[in-house]
């Protein structure tokens, strides 16, 4: 075969061979930047947490999922063990989608990697690795692990910085409100279509009405209502589109 130029990676626009660790890092770093304020907020929330600080910090190593960590450390003051775990389980449902989407890529991988790899599967890593159809076998594995370990180390560092900085900020600054603002921002940025807006509005509204449900059960009542409403809105939207297509087709 004739020697070809090194392929230009469309996502990073570098000519580093796509399967090298350098290419993985170059692709991974830009996606980490938006996670920095989130990591700082988690760090501050750890200093505010009703949990012992060391236990709350250990969420970095044991959980390694920003939204689930933030919920765990900030709900510790008011929630029981069971609501806390149930809430985190619902927050983590999106990982099931990632897992489903990536499972064909993992089939060709060795068994040890099928067990180790998923631990690192945060949103950014999914975004990076699910689109890399040009890589396979050991090259995809090296790319996945390099980016995953990079995210793990930098996330833990940023959260630790937030923890150190947060404990020296006075209470009057009301940094306790930051997690709620963060979650609201994540909702808005994640809204891709009308059913998504329906899900968010119903989720928030029902939770507001259900605030008196004991043990923070309102979160789950709101979440289940929101998902149901979003799903129904999605079904209705598809049906409307079909009706529209049928009527225009008949003319």
């Amino acid at each position: 075969m004739p020697a070809a130029d090194p392929p230009v990676d469309p996502l990073t626009e570098t000519s580093a061979p796509a399967g090298t660790s350098a290419a993985a890092l170059r692709a991974a770093i830009p996606l980490f930047i938006p996670a920095i304020p989130f990591g700082l907020v988690v760090g501050v929330a750890i200093t505010d947490s009703a949990m012992p600080t060391a236990v709350a910090w250990s969420t970095n190593v044991v959980i390694f999922a920003g939204a689930a960590q933030l919920a765990t450390v900030s709900l510790a003051a008011t929630a029981t063990w069971l609501t806390l775990v149930a809430t985190a389980a619902v927050i983590n449902l999106r990982h099931v989608m990632y897992s489903a989407a990536l499972s064909p890529r993992f089939n060709e991988q060795p068994r040890w990697f099928r067990w180790v790899g998923p631990f690192f599967l945060i949103d950014q890593l999914f975004a990076l690795t699910s689109v890399r159809t040009s890589l396979s076998g050991p090259a995809w594995r090296r790319f996945y692990l390099t980016a995953g370990i990079f995210y793990f180390l930098s996330w833990t560092t940023v959260v630790s910085i937030g923890l150190v900085v947060g404990s020296s900020i006075p209470v009057e600054w009301r940094l306790d409100v930051a997690p709620a603002i963060m979650f609201a921002g994540l909702v808005v940025l994640g809204l891709a279509n009308r059913p998504g807006i329906v899900a968010a509005v119903v989720g928030a509204g029902v939770c507001l009405l259900a605030l008196d449900v004991p043990n923070n059960g309102g979160i789950l009542v709101g979440a289940i209502s929101g998902v149901t409403a979003g799903y129904l809105a999605d079904v209705a939207e598809v049906r409307r589109a079909e009706v529209r297509r049928d009527t225009t087709g008949a003319q």
Binding site: I36, F38, M51, V55, A56, T59, V62, F64, A65, A67, A68, L75, A76, A77, T78, W81, A88, A89, V90, L93, R94, H95, V96, Y98, S99, A100, L102, N107, R114, W115, F119, L121, E172, R174, L175, V177, A180, I181, F183, A184, G185, V187, V188, L189, G190, P195, G196, A199, A200, G203, A204, C207, L211, N216, I219, L220, G222, V227, G230, D234
Partner: protein, 105 residues
Amino acid sequence: MNTFPAVAAVLSVGMITYASRAGLIVFLAERPLPTNISRALRYVGPAVLSALTVNLIAGGQGIGGVEFVEVAALGMAIVVAAVARNLLAALAAGMVTLWLLLWLL
């Protein structure tokens, strides 16, 4: 929260997080999720995160725990997130609104 229930909670959430990431990769290779389920899963994010926002603002004290300044800060953050599509800008706008109102009121 004492050390023991805190450790138990963190370990449980850790196991659930790992299970939701690894479950289909380790055990259900090549079997796709039913379309209805994956369609419903798309709305888990907005539904649970917005419910969580409301719950955190109430701070475990029911509707009486919701303060005007917090709602104003959230509203500003939501508007900025929608317009600028940037999480850092939304966080900054929300916190600055909160500080301004706390200083003014």
